[in-house]
Amino acid sequence: MAEVSLSHPLDGYLRKGILPHIWCAGCGYGVILNCFIRALRELEFNLNNLVVVSGIGCIGRISGYINADGFHTTHGRALAFATGVKLARPHLKVVVISGDGDLFAIGGNHFIHAARRNIDVTVICANNFVYGMTGGQLGPTTPLSAYTPTTPYGSVEHPFNLVYLAAGSGAVYVARWTIIHVRELITSLKKALQRKGLSFIEVISPCPTLFGRYNRLGSAVDILDWLKASSVTRYHSNPAEAEITLGGKIIVGEFVDTEKVTYSELLEEMTKKIQQRLEKEGRLTLASL
């Protein structure tokens, strides 16, 4: 017989008093939070060494929910901020959790450079296909012909294929799951958290309140049915072929799974060399510049 309880085993991973969170009933962002916390727990991660950086948007609130150091940046700048954190304190685990618009429209430039540099940061993109917080407007991942308040006649823009973009920018680990793939998502999160370099996980979590409503996708549970019907799991497939269209297949799985020397490692190596040379030769005055 089920008993009514007042606390949940994962409550320690959440700041006090943050429930109920702001996400709508039927929003998958709570699932992302859930899976992320579980990944931390399974890794027995020391939360004192975690910094969660989020951007602006519905998912941006997540840094205020997790019981670890957190920072809610200006729109699109989470990765640049995270770069500063990681380089200042290389021993900390820095995780950027943000949305499709924040990371890839306004933040697109910072993403590709962080990936290019291979900054040791785990990036989780909560992709709800729109700018949810402001009312569901078109975003860089809104599928072609979809309806949004800024595409009232249907979108005429091709969306990004995020896993392709991430792979092309140099990310060392690239995966995509949806919110129904809870076990696979936890596995990927654990892998990404332990991988040095820029790991990228796209989590498809369609917004039922706005995107779903404007495109007549039905209830939140209908959207889960849609995800189940459209998802195809493929490991090591070509990310270029993983485009998302309304009515098409959503390819999920791991696309890139490699290792590459990180920015911090190269920087540390260089700094050591300089300091050794300094010990030997010494720079005594500005004159030797």
Partner: protein
């Protein structure tokens, strides 16, 4: 079930492979019909409901079988 955390999204009801869960006919403090255990003898302890709940409103408790 932490009934008053439930927002009634139905994810747990949807994902449960054994149809253990359904919706209550009583409103909770949020004004929604929360999920509830309909038939806990069918539960096999897969834990999917706990993994997919966005609101930390449901979790499994292992009981010792005497």
């Amino acid at each position: 079930m932490i009934k008053d955390r439930c927002k009634g999204c139905g994810f747990c009801v949807w994902i449960c492979p054994k149809h253990v869960l359904s919706f209550s006919d009583k409103l909770n403090v949020r004004g929604v019909f929360s999920a509830m255990v309909k038939d806990d003898t069918a539960c096999v302890g897969c834990g999917l409901c706990e993994l997919i709940c966005p609101d930390f409103a449901i979790f499994l408790e292992r009981r010792r079988k005497v």
